[in-house]
Structures are given as structure tokens and as C-alpha cells.
């Protein structure tokens, strides 16, 4: 028999268990009975908190999609140069996925399902990078550059794609090649290559910008 928990606490434990199961098996691979068993309550108790599996799934999506990272340390721990702050932000983001790979799993699932949470994932998880890169490059690139707007947008997409793919390889399908790759080095190298691609040839990013977990 499960321990009696106050309502809000019980609700949280249901959301957390559901989040793990949905991340592993997707919406269709999990039943209400599976979740109830995981939390050690009866399905009737679960239905007291959520009217349906869909409602519980939507709650999980929204909760993860609205989780924001604070990049204050990326600004206070290093210089204020475009490259140092970007390196610090990237390290913080990578750490957040290391702590909770389900954030990435559920984001990818919501994308494939065409869920409206995809927009929340972008607004809360990626927009910081998009804004930062687009503002930064807007200030740096020559104004007479051909196709300036699309160049800036492409650079921002390139960064997001590059970081996301590295995270998928590293945390969602551990690959032999990446098993021993150090996260600091990976983060540092991704940012360095990106900077080179957009024409910011700074060979040394302040090591302080790479925040150790």
C-alpha cells in the first residue's frame, strides 16, 4: 500500500513518473495502469488528479517545455564578449540535458507528434540562443553583406542543429565514439567551429567561459 501524500505532492509524483515513462515509451506505449503502478496508487486515485491520459501527457509536455535555464552565470563568470557568453550558455544548456535527458526526448516526441508544446520548447529552451546569435551577428556582420537576413537566420539554425545533434548522440543513443568525449571539450569545440563558420576567428575562448558542472 502506498504512503498517503498530500494532494499537490501526489500530483507531482504522478507527473514525474509519467514524465519518465512517456519519455521512454512515448504516448502510445504507456497506459494509465503503467503510471499508476509506477507511483504505487490505484488508477482511481490517478483519475482524481487527471481526467485522462491525454490530460496527463499534456501536463508533462507543458511542464518540461516551460523549464528555462538561467544564463546569468554565463555573463557574470566570464567576459562579455559574444564568444565567451555563447560558450557559457552552451555549457549550461548541455548540463541541463545531462541532468535530465527526458527534456530532449520529450521535445523530439512533441515535434514528431505536431504538438503545440513544440512552440513552448522553442520559446523557453531555444529562443535564448536564437535571440543571442541573431542580435550578436546583426551587430557584427557588415551591413552590405549579400543575403544578410537569411545568413543570420541560417547561422542561428546551424547552431541549434549542431548542439541538438551532439546532445542526441551523447545522451539519447550513447555511441562508442562519444562515450569518452569530455563535455567541456565537446561544448568548447562546437562553439569554436561555429564561430569560425560565421567568420569570428577567435582561436581562444576564455576558459572561464566554460563553466564546470
Amino acid at each position: 500500500m502506498s504512503t498517503r501524500l498530500p494532494g499537490p505532492q501526489r500530483r507531482d509524483s504522478i507527473v514525474q513518473a509519467a514524465s519518465r515513462l512517456f519519455a521512454d515509451k512515448g504516448f502510445h506505449g504507456v497506459s494509465i495502469d503503467d503510471i499508476a503502478r509506477e507511483v504505487d496508487v490505484s488508477p482511481a486515485i490517478l483519475y482524481r488528479h487527471f481526467a485522462s491520459k491525454q490530460e496527463l501527457y499534456d501536463t508533462v509536455l507543458l511542464e518540461l517545455a516551460c523549464q528555462r535555464e538561467s544564463y546569468v552565470e554565463a555573463v557574470t563568470n566570464s567576459g562579455t564578449s559574444f564568444e565567451d557568453v555563447l560558450a557559457g550558455m552552451t555549457r549550461i544548456y548541455i548540463d541541463s540535458i545531462k541532468q535530465n535527458p527526458d527534456l530532449l526526448r520529450i521535445e523530439l516526441q512533441s515535434l514528431l507528434e505536431g504538438s503545440s508544446a513544440t512552440r513552448d520548447f522553442f520559446d523557453n529552451r531555444w529562443k535564448s540562443f536564437a535571440d543571442y546569435i541573431e542580435f550578436g551577428l546583426n551587430e557584427r556582420l557588415p551591413y552590405d553583406l549579400q543575403n544578410r537576413e537569411i545568413t543570420i537566420l541560417s547561422a542561428s539554425l546551424m547552431f541549434q542543429g549542431m548542439v541538438r545533434e551532439a546532445l542526441i548522440q551523447k545522451f539519447l543513443q550513447p555511441h562508442d565514439r562519444l562515450e569518452d568525449v569530455d563535455l567541456d571539450e565537446l561544448s568548447h569545440e562546437l562553439v569554436r567551429l561555429f564561430l569560425r563558420a560565421v567568420g569570428i576567428n577567435k582561436s581562444r575562448i576564455s576558459r572561464k567561459a566554460v563553466i564546470t558542472a
Binding site: 528555462r68 557574470t76 550558455m89 535564448s128 543571442y132
Partner: protein, 77 residues
């Protein structure tokens, strides 16, 4: 709102841009002078609290007005 020496409008910007711009604006102030910041990112409330804690600057006030977040930060002496 009381007097301020410089103003920064960070409306429409997500973390860390408001913080970064504030850090640069504060660097240009003399010790004891005040920066007023306007932001729209709800995360900025916690972010500016953390920023002041980490930098030693004083968060004189933090509030919301017409859907915008207003902060007054005094540069540490």
C-alpha cells in the same frame, strides 16, 4: 520610481541579453549610480536577483507595470 542615472530598455529580449546589456550599462556608470531596466521576459525577475547577488550590485527595486518588468540597480561602491 525614484531617480536614475541611466536607462536600459531590454523589452522583447530573452535571457541572457537583458543581463548582458545591464552588465555593460553598469560598467559605464560611476559607483553608487543607478540603472533603470525595462524587460518583458518573466524570467528576468529571478535573473536580476541572481545577477545582483553574484556581482554585489544592489537591487533597489523590482516590480511589474503594464506587463513590463522594471528594475532599479545601484552600482556597488
Amino acid at each position: 520610481m525614484s531617480d536614475f542615472d541611466s536607462e536600459l530598455d531590454a523589452s522583447g529580449l530573452n535571457c541572457p541579453l537583458p543581463i548582458l546589456r545591464a552588465k555593460k550599462a553598469i560598467a559605464a556608470l560611476d559607483n553608487g549610480q543607478t540603472l533603470k531596466i525595462i524587460a518583458t521576459d518573466p524570467g528576468s525577475v529571478k535573473d536580476f536577483e541572481a545577477f545582483c547577488k553574484q556581482t554585489g550590485n544592489t537591487l533597489l527595486s523590482s516590480g511589474e507595470e503594464d506587463g513590463k518588468f522594471l528594475f532599479m540597480i545601484q552600482k556597488a561602491a
